[in-house]
């Protein structure tokens, strides 16, 4: 299975400015967050990229794409009626091909030479089915992620056959329905924000978008439909995702990139300096966790 296309969603309310933020990449070059995401996508052989944006955002996104703008097309989601609807807007773009999907507010750092997207596409090609990147997620993060449960595929490290998908479950439900054997207690397989989806997802998306009992249907809802009908896997990516949309998300992402790149020593020196001056700072507001 060859993955030539990618869909990036960036249409959620309050999300439109995140991809345009400026960061410094591993090599010390100034880049927008969107550029870093696009580089990740292109690293795995994707040729065409579609970004789903809010009406009126296209200009700023084009600008933030820098010299990669040539590979990018835009579609708009007229109303913010859910994640599932946002992806469905790219239906004409994907046609009947499989595609890589990423969220526009996450950055990814691979723990190996192979980029996260490439790792995922490799697994999808091997199994010829939809695959979601996941990572072991502690239960206190459940309110932020879609969670899958599954069984390990023998002799395939980090690959799971998915049995359930639930968006932002309560820990109570997670413990009852979403425990995956082999993970530490209180840890679940949480979405990494990166998926390779076969064209089967479109029907599932259309089904959940049409379901009136669901308010703002999510991709997780569609994936739960998908896994009931088709083979669907999860893959524990060797890497880390950084959510830019949470408080200090941008700062932490930048630190993570910088500490894995050329300027590691410089940043470390600055951090030590900051820590040494900590006594002079006012208390931490009780957040001593």
């Amino acid at each position: 299975m060859q993955v030539r296309k990618a869909v990036i969603t960036a249409a959620a309310p309050n999300q439109n400015r995140i991809p345009t933020q400026q960061l410094v990449d591993r090599q010390g070059k100034d880049k927008s967050a969107l550029q870093l995401i696009l580089e990740e996508v292109l690293s795995c052989g994707v040729e065409e990229i579609c970004i789903v944006v809010r009406p009126g955002d296209q200009g700023s996104f084009e600008q933030a794409s820098g010299d990669l703008v040539g590979s990018v097309r835009f579609v708009e989601q007229p109303e913010p009626i859910g994640y599932a609807d946002a992806i469905l807007r790219a239906k004409p773009f994907v046609a009947d091909e499989p595609f890589l999907h990423l969220v526009g507010d996450h950055l990814y750092l691979s723990a190996s030479e192979i980029s996260c997207a490439r790792q995922l596409v490799n697994v999808a090609s091997e199994f010829t089915c939809s695959v979601s990147a996941v990572q072991s997620t502690r239960e206190n993060k459940l309110p932020y992620f879609g969670i899958v449960s599954g069984t390990r595929v023998p002799r395939q490290e980090g690959v799971f056959e998915v049995q359930r998908v639930v968006e932002k479950p309560t820990p109570t439900r997670a413990e009852q329905e979403l425990v995956t054997p082999g993970l530490r207690s209180g840890h679940y397989l949480g979405f990494f924000g990166m998926h390779v989806l076969t064209n089967d997802i479109i029907a599932a998306l259309e089904q959940v978008v049409a379901d009136e009992s669901l308010t703002k249907p999510t991709l997780s809802d569609a994936l739960d439909v998908l896994r009931a009908r088709h083979k669907y896997m999860a893959f524990e990516v060797r890497g880390t995702r950084y959510n830019l949309g949470i408080p200090y998300g941008l700062l932490i992402s930048q630190l993570a990139i910088a500490l894995s790149g050329h300027d590691r020593d410089h940043i470390l020196t600055e951090l030590v300096d900051l820590l040494a001056q900590r006594n002079a700072l006012v208390g931490d507001g009780g957040r001593d966790a």
């Binding site: 309110p143 309560t170 109570t172 413990e175 209180g186």
Partner: protein
């Protein structure tokens, strides 16, 4: 290792596994019993299966409690040698109190090995094995509750910032017009069970014997007959977001509100009356149990859960259903609160409407957790009100994947089969409603001890009780069949048979005099139209059901209401009633727990809530109120003006903010008038208060100086009559009885503080056990013994009951109603002349009692609750005023009898002794005994021993068992005397004393008068008698004691307060140098006392009840 008992425990073959302990050990000798014990003890130490281990522990406990002592006594009687007394090592006792049961057992076993087996050490071992057994079971339930999937995460969370729950957004959408927050409301039914197959809903039973665990449980709505228009779900809970970062809790029935500001406060259950709400908040995962002790403010958690600056308000209302209704109101309230909180946080998917089966199961699992956290306990059927309609709840086998698999046969959580209309037709449901009268008899009793007894019986598989359990299971099938066929009469027959047969075979204490009389009255009044009786829950006396022919149900309900009140009035001085009986209207609830989201003008709390919070809101300056509070006040005003609040509720609202007129409360019966009228000694009272305040008297001052040498007595200091008296003594005694030389004095001034945990009833009149076909009181038992002596020997034995202000009228009235139980003459009442007024204890004494005196540590969670209660009580003492008069209760609970020493001088002061001597000049001796020393009778041998040895006072002492605490016979400075437990300079000394004081005393009247420096003729001179009594009283020590008293309020609510009182005790007569005392060691059964109701069951099972019966003649 092969042992028949171990074979029984381990067997997979049901016919062998269900065999009883008795079938193996009934005929065993001491040596064989000890061999069984050795094998079982070795076995239980390495056995991994929980239930096998527990069963071995209960076998061991039972052998030591029931079989070994009897064997030792019999074999001791046969051998001529001196009986071995045996002492209990204090170290082991300390281990026992601190719940180090295994260490305690090792200590006791070591003593048994070195000193030989004895009654004393067996009593200690029995207790230690028993408690270890229950601890093992409780640990398993706790583990199971924690490991239920969906509960585990709550124990992992350690900091509020990691909180993984979020409040649903729907609850944050304020009304755009008025700003009112949406209000989530949940209504829940309570549950009624027609049969629980002999308490098979106890967790331990369901987990070991799932096939036998079945309950027929019905969700019902209630209304109080005559008060409410129609039945409605009795439980209502409310939740809303508030604009202050606190967790506000309110219970409108208990008139209690609290604002929780720290996470720690949420775990402080006894700080206020909101413990149940707090347990729900914890069990629902809002403040997960893992956060206990994290020391963070609750605002931090709320910020994570809802958002910065926001809080939650949780309100409960149970429509004033009284405690003890046996309808599991508290568990279902817990279920309702948990459900509403889980809906609000998305743990239950549906925000409104009913619940799915899996959601109900989750709520039930959390309710079990909540009960454990709150230190209470319930059965697994109790959250039945969360389910709809009629259902059969059954135990389930543990399967692979269950946390219980491999540990116990059954699962913690049962399965519920809800009956559809095919299984229980509409018509049947209606017929049941048309026939069954639900009542609350007025008694609110603790059912905990009964559940422990049931568990023990089950594990021992005693034949009669095991047979009864099988029968109860068949009866459940019959009840189910009757429901299915719609035959209500059949239900009544089955439930009555269940109550009168298997339930009482297993636990005789499931019934009481009150219930028996009610059932009899129904039969007498309605004959065939009375279809049957249903015991609800664990025991009768509180919530009960009576089935009548539908044609007479309405009339029978009215009649029953009156009849219950009448019987209660007759029995209320004897049995602990918490309230007047009521009759309920009920209907079957086919909805289960149900929620609604109200918004805008509909988002209003119940009227009673506003009566509760309005006074405080009005006292606060408007500018200090939060915007939500201000708008709420405006809304109340608007609704009053619009007439949306009923006029009665409006007037109550008004009353809540206006000052009360208290003149009505000051009636003639008020405490001070009463004190005045009964000759209370105010001067002495003030002296005691001053001494108490200054620390001259108090719990620590009760003790003898540490330099006093106290040793155990030797054989030369006692007369051992355990193996019988000589023929001469018996003859001398019989002669004295026949000549009318002896009288009996029964001390009946007490209100049995320990017996009813401070309920303040007359202990003498408590119908505690069935003898010869009906429940009889202590008083009746004592008279029956006197009757037996009179009938066998002849003569005249005057029998005097000494009373206090608290017991005098009830005893006189009781004797009169029963025509002195057939005694034409000789039954007398000696009215007490002394009364004290209780005081608020000093914090110093409370600390001494709770911190410096060795006392039983409770199971982990219960101990936490107890510590929280104690902190609250110390605060109460401090704020109310240490050593101030305790007057905040009904007068009878504020007064106290001043110790049994005074009861003998009272005989002199009130002229009773004078009159007795005039009526019966031959009278020379008195036998004085406590009301609870049931074995004390006018034994000719002991009387002869007293006469022939010529002592002034002969005290009967017995060998000590673990439960016999409170002093004993000791050599003090070389002289044998009775030392009160209160006076022991060091608690461990008591453990070195062989004999315990039974209090039964043979008195030589002449010598007693000499001690008072009086003559027979001077008895008529009141002034001389008073002065003599005062003189002697001064020479005896005054003890300060703390007693528990119950304060009743609301609807059968009870609070227990420790209060200070003073006492002088009879045993101290032995310390007077001029009084010649002798100490007679008597058989255990004669001197055994019943101090607590928990003793009743072992007392009945070890043959003591039979023995007492054999002393009595019931032919009145």
């Amino acid at each position: 290792m092969s042992n028949r008992l171990i074979d029984i425990i381990r067997s997979e073959d049901e016919s062998l596994r269900h065999r009883s302990l008795e079938s193996v050990v009934a005929e065993a000798t001491t040596t064989q019993l000890l061999e069984h014990c050795r094998s079982l003890d070795a076995y239980r130490r390495h056995e991994e299966n929980l239930y096998c281990r527990v069963r071995a522990l209960f076998f061991l406990s039972s052998i030591h409690r029931y079989h070994l002592p009897r064997r030792l006594e019999l074999e001791g009687a046969r051998s001529e040698s001196q009986l071995h007394n045996g002492l209990i090592p204090f170290g082991g006792y300390e281990h026992l109190l601190s719940r180090r049961f295994s260490e305690a057992i090792d200590d006791f076993l070591q003593t048994q090995d070195s000193a030989g087996p004895s009654d004393a050490i067996s009593s200690a071992l029995a207790q230690a094995y028993h408690q270890l057994g229950f601890q093992t079971l409780a640990d398993q339930v706790r583990k199971s509750v924690r490991t239920v999937r969906g509960n585990q995460w709550m124990f992992r969370l350690g900091h509020p910032i990691d909180h993984p729950l979020r409040l649903r957004r729907e609850l944050l959408a304020a009304d755009p017009k008025r700003g009112a927050m949406p209000l989530l409301c949940e209504t829940t039914a309570v549950r009624m069970d027609l049969s629980h197959s002999a308490w098979s809903d106890i967790f331990f039973l369901g987990m070991d014997y799932p096939a036998g665990a079945r309950v027929l449980n019905i969700s019902v709505d209630l209304g109080v007959r005559g008060r409410d228009d129609s039945p409605s779900p009795p439980i209502e809970t409310y939740l809303r977001v508030i604009d202050e970062p606190v967790f506000r809790l309110a219970s409108v029935d208990l008139n209690a509100t609290a604002e929780v500001t720290t996470i720690g406060e949420m775990f402080d259950f006894a700080r206020d009356y909101l413990g149940l709400l707090k347990a729900a908040v914890i069990a629902a995962g809002i403040v997960p149990p893992g956060l206990e002790g994290c020391g963070r403010p609750i605002s931090e958690l709320l910020a994570q859960l809802i958002g910065p600056g926001k809080g939650l308000e949780l309100v409960s209302k149970i429509n004033d259903i009284p405690k003890g209704s046996r309808l599991a109101v508290s568990t279902n309230l817990l279920g309702s609160l948990i459900s509403i909180l889980m809906r609000a946080t998305g743990q239950i998917e549906s925000l409104t409407g009913g619940l799915t089966e899996s959601e109900r199961r989750l709520v039930a699992a959390r309710a079990i957790l909540g009960e454990w956290i709150g230190g209470s306990g319930g059965g697994w059927q109790d959250s039945g009100g969360v389910w709809p309609g009629i259902k059969l709840i059954c135990g389930a086998e543990a399967a692979e994947g269950d946390p219980e698999y491999g540990v116990s046969r059954g699962r913690l959580m049962p399965v519920h089969q809800v009956f559809d209309r095919r299984r229980a037709s509409e018509q049947t449901r209606q017929k049941l409603q048309d026939s069954l009268v639900l009542v609350h008899g007025g008694m609110a009793q603790n059912v905990g001890p009964i559940l422990e007894m049931v568990t023990e019986r089950y594990l021992l598989r005693s034949e009669a009780e095991w047979g009864a359990r099988q029968e109860a299971m068949t009866i459940l099938d019959q009840v189910v069949a009757a429901i299915e066929s719609g035959d209500i009469r059949q239900i009544g027959q089955a439930t009555t048979r269940n109550f009168e047969g298997p339930l009482q075979t297993i636990i005789p204490w499931a019934t009481n005099r009150f219930t028996d009389r009610l059932i009899q009255a129904c039969r007498d009044k309605y004959g065939d139209q009375f279809w049957g009786f249903v015991m609800l829950g664990g025991m009768s006396g509180g919530g009960m059901g009576f089935l009548f022919d539908p044609a007479i149900k309405a009339a029978a309900s009215d009649w029953l209401q009156k009849e219950m009140v009448q019987i209660k009035t007759q029995l209320q001085t004897a049995l602990p009633f918490a309230m007047d009986p009521v009759v309920y209207d009920f209907s079957i609830n086919d909805q289960g727990t149900w929620a609604q989201l109200r918004s805008g003008d509909d988002a209003v709390m119940p009227d009673r809530y506003y009566q509760l919070v309005l006074p405080n809101l009005l006292r606060t300056a408007t500018r200090d109120l939060s915007p939500n509070r201000r708008s709420e006040l405006q809304s109340i005003a608007r609704r009053c003006a619009d007439g949306q609040i009923a006029s009665s509720a409006s007037s109550k609202l008004l009353q809540s903010v206006l000052p009360h007129d208290e003149s009505d409360e000051r009636s003639d019966t008020s405490l001070h008038n009463l004190l005045h009228s009964i000759g209370f000694d105010a001067e002495q009272h003030e002296q005691i208060r001053a001494d108490l305040k200054n620390g001259r008297i108090g719990l620590s001052q009760n003790r003898l100086s540490p330099s006093t040498t106290i040793r155990d007595v030797g054989p030369e200091h006692v007369v051992d009559l355990r193996q019988g008296c000589s023929l001469e003594e018996v003859k001398a005694g019989e002669q004295a009885i026949a000549d009318g030389q002896v009288g009996v004095v029964t001390l009946a001034a007490g209100v049995g503080s320990r017996w009813t945990e401070g309920a303040g009833v007359c202990k003498a009149l408590h119908p505690f056990n069935r003898f010869a076909g009906r429940h009889r009181s202590f008083l009746e038992v004592h008279l029956a013994k006197t009757r037996a002596t009179l009938r066998s020997i002849g003569g005249a034995i005057p029998h005097v009951f000494t009373t206090s202000y608290l017991t005098d009228a009830p005893i006189r009235e009781h004797l009169q109603r029963h025509e002195h139980f057939g005694f034409e003459r000789g039954v007398e009442v000696s009215t007490g002349k002394s009364v004290g007024l209780r005081m608020v204890p000093t914090v110093r004494d409370l600390q001494f009692l709770w911190q410096e005196t060795a006392s039983q540590v409770l199971d982990q969670q219960q101990q936490k609750v107890r510590e929280s209660v104690r902190a609250a009580l110390m605060n109460w003492a401090r704020t109310t005023g240490e050593a101030s008069d305790y007057t905040d209760n009904v007068p009878n609970q504020c007064l106290h009898p001043v110790g049994h020493w005074y009861e003998v001088p009272n005989l002199l002061r009130n002229g009773m002794l004078h009159r007795l001597l005039q009526d019966q000049p031959s009278l020379r001796y008195l036998m004085l005994h406590n009301i609870d020393t049931l074995g004390a009778n006018v034994d000719p041998g002991l009387l002869g021993a007293h006469i022939r040895r010529g002592a002034d006072l002969s005290f009967e002492v017995i060998t000590r068992r673990l439960e016999d605490r409170g002093g004993g016979l000791a050599l003090v400075g070389g002289r044998p005397q009775l030392v009160e437990g209160l006076a022991m300079p060091d608690e461990r000394i008591e453990f070195d004393l062989s004999y315990y004081n039974s209090m039964t005393t043979w008195i030589d009247i002449g010598r007693l008068l000499e001690t008072f420096q009086l003559t027979r003729s001077e008895l008529a001179d009141t002034a001389a008698v008073d002065s003599a009594v005062r003189k002697l009283a001064k020479r005896l020590p005054t003890y300060i004691t703390l007693k528990d008293v119950k304060k009743r309020w609301g609807h059968a609510q009870e609070d227990i307060y420790p209060v200070a009182q003073f006492e002088k005790l009879w045993g101290d007569m032995t310390a007077l140098p001029e009084v010649e005392c002798q100490f007679m060691v008597v058989p255990k059964r004669r001197g055994q006392q019943l101090k607590e109701q928990a003793q009743l069951d072992p007392w009945k099972r070890d043959g003591s009840a039979e023995y007492i019966d054999s002393l009595c003649d019931w032919r009145d």
